[in-house]
Assembly symmetry: C2
Homo-oligomer: 452 residues x 2
């Protein structure tokens, strides 16, 4: 990649455009999009070679590369395109990619794109745009191969040959009757059938499909489960309106994971990569939760104030606070992470509430016993055989671990129950909640055992 970069950079500077064209024509679109980013970095708007290089690409490769670029570059390109060029790119693009572009662009660019689309395309674009964000309808494409039940296998092959080049996938074909989806057949099935077999005899009629309004996370989970290449999307009357292809499903899975990672670290989700997100956006994404969590920590502060007498009498108590708080936070984080993941992957449901709580309870008893013994012995040996101090810490650890694991397990499920995203009940919030509990437990046990 670095070699290619230098070579093209050199050739562009020497204006050897024919050679450049021959090289780039052989490359993969995804690689070319990366090459554009690496070659021009942040100043692609100022450098004339950027447009020159893009115009050297063969038409279909240009459209594909365009689809792989980041939205800023695409916006710039659309601004530079002649109407003819825009028309050509749109011709070579699949409808779902065009919709993705439209969703990211400012109004004036959108109207230019729509002006350069055919009436049919415009209708299709508007239809997809109408579906709710994050629905199956919003990520589908309408470019699929549909067959008729009375066709023979040979006729089906003819149709695929005729229309296939413009379809996003030809490998799964859909049999419709009055627009209703009545069967599915793969090209592999067609290959293993006889030329004059009738489609209706060999098609699969047990169809797995999704509703247009289904959450795209569910669609992603279905792809993980069934290993499909494409999934049909139907309206409430079972009419076929589009398909979701596996590459878009992969993107959805990736996005959902990225979102969960962000939420679990108290960061507002962000679709752009780390470097492509500006400083101010980074600050904005991070400051909200930090403020909320900082203010929540005030509760712990008030609890500590109440026990001033206890630690004034025995200052050593203070030094164990971080260890107890951290252990509680870590235990809560473990449970909440596992439960949040289980919910996201559709493995844990609200009906499992008591099963999960009981399981975490048993786990927490064993975990806390080990931690309490190890730490109790350590403190007993380190602090002049002070048995009561060791006992205080050991008991505090047991109570803290049990409470933390139960809170960590319950809150994500309760969040899901009231239709909040379980991922907000992740490490940072759990830690803050658990802090209050563990400090409260700790000082109460200290007062009881040590009589301070």
């Amino acid at each position: 990649m670095q070699d290619l970069l230098k070579r093209i950079d050199g050739l562009l500077k020497e204006k050897k455009f024919v050679e450049v064209r021959n090289i780039v024509a052989e490359e993969n679109a995804a690689d070319l999009a990366v090459l554009f980013e690496e070659l021009f970095g942040e100043d692609y708007e100022e450098r004339a070679e950027f447009m020159i290089l893009f115009r050297l690409l063969p038409k279909d490769l240009a459209a594909e590369t365009f689809a792989h670029m980041n939205s800023d570059m695409r916006k710039h390109l659309i601004g530079m395109f002649t109407d003819k060029e825009l028309r050509e790119i749109l011709d070579e693009s699949f409808i779902d990619d065009t919709v993705d572009i439209i969703e990211e662009m400012p109004a004036n660019v959108v109207s230019r794109i729509l002006k350069n689309s055919t009436t049919g395309e415009r209708k299709a674009i508007n239809e997809i745009l109408r579906y709710p964000k994050d629905s199956a309808g919003s990520i589908m494409t309408i470019e699929y191969v549909s067959l008729h039940r009375d066709m023979t296998v040979a006729e089906a092959f003819d149709k695929i040959r005729r229309v296939g080049v413009n379809k996003e996938t030809i490998y799964t074909c859909y049999v419709t009757e009055n627009r209703k989806l009545i069967g599915v057949i793969t090209v592999k099935d067609l290959f293993t059938a006889e030329e004059d077999d009738k489609i209706s005899d060999i098609m699969e009629t047990h169809i797995i499909s999704v509703d247009t309004h289904e959450d795209k996370e569910v669609v992603g989970n279905m792809f993980r489960k069934y290993d499909f290449l494409a999934l049909p999307v139907v309206d409430k009357d079972n009419r076929l309106v589009g398909i979701v292809t596996f590459d878009d499903a992969m993107d959805v899975i990736q996005e959902e994971n990225a979102e969960d990672f962000s939420k679990m670290a108290a960061i507002a989700p962000n679709e752009e990569s780390y470097f492509r997100t500006g400083i101010f956006k980074h600050v904005k994404n991070r400051i909200g939760w930090l403020l909320i969590l900082m203010i929540s920590a005030t509760v712990t502060q008030i609890i500590i104030n109440k026990y001033e007498a206890a630690f004034a009498a025995l200052p050593i108590l203070i030094s164990f606070m971080p260890m107890i708080m951290d252990t509680g936070g870590n235990c809560g984080a473990q449970s909440s992470t596992l439960i949040i993941r289980g919910i996201a992957l559709d493995e844990i449901h609200f009906k499992d509430f008591f099963k999960v709580v009981f399981k975490e309870f048993r786990i927490s008893i064993m975990v806390s016993a080990v931690l309490a013994v190890v730490n109790g012995v350590r403190i007993y040996l380190m602090y002049e055989r002070n048995f009561l101090l060791a006992l205080t810490i050991a008991l505090s650890i047991i109570a803290t671990v049990i409470i933390s694991k139960l809170i960590g397990a319950m809150l994500p499920m309760l969040a899901k129950r009231v239709h909040l995203d379980p991922a907000i009940m992740a490490t940072p919030l759990i830690t803050t909640i658990v802090d209050c509990c563990s400090i409260f437990i700790y000082f109460n046990i200290a007062v009881a055992v040590l009589n301070v």
Copy 2:
């Protein structure tokens, strides 16, 4: 699903096996695997209906369902199979699924599987088993369609028709010469070509492939980038040895994500789902990091002991400890999560070290300024206009946030540099490290500003 479950349960009890067979024959293998789990739960080993239901499945569906089941059920089934049944299941399975099964099974089961395989299969299985765990070789299948450069399109179609039914994917075909990979062609390309076109004229020769020893995480990232259906796997002499299909790549992406989620919550990675993991396994997966982190917290404890005089003189200082520690932990977690994800997705590399550090530095200044002002004002108003106390907390927050974000950004990159998994530098460890720093900073600032 629940209806189906009840219906089959009822029919099995009434011994209406023919009806059951007709129903299940229409179902999808992935759904059937779930049905087996829901129907028999934990006591499938005791219930005779389990084997009866499995034996009612048509052969090919049985093999597919088997591949979707969890390893305990598979182990049980293999134990119950006659040699003939085992032979049939293996016949209908793809080699990569068989290898997956072998990797999970105890030695006596493995030898039974190998005994019931053909010599060719045994050779293929052993070849795949020889590749390092987590390598491209270990997840590939050898069931692909290979074509010859001199074939015509019509001849290629004939070959696909002849051998396709036993191949995991037919949609991407590979052109080899002396076992070397010289071209790739998709069925879509074949459909748009003329019947008498020569393969060598229309095949793609700019081939994207992976080495057998490449890390499977890299393979997953390539699928995300290129949207391929399959990726050829070659040895060091560019000989084609197998392919990785998109469904296996999706599993890899899923596993890698699950692993990162676990590590980021200080849990040892685990391939089984939450419910299918036993209590003791859960305890074992969680206790290790908890112990390490608990012992590490001792450092913070020692630091606090050193400043006993400071908080004895001004006990109010103690109540701010959790807020400062938590804010530091949360800030560090935000940075480390973003950097760990960036590294996993191949967006951030070690060469970006200073770029990342500088970016986080600028972000941390802005974030800390906001947090310091909000909290400073709050404390000034709440604590009898104690300006020096407010100043102490505000300065401590600024220093803590900056240090936390830098630590959170640097440690994952340094871990990667010395070939450790960056994900271990996640929230829990970062929190513990940041705790020490923030407590140290806090008391030093308090001593300097407040003269305690």
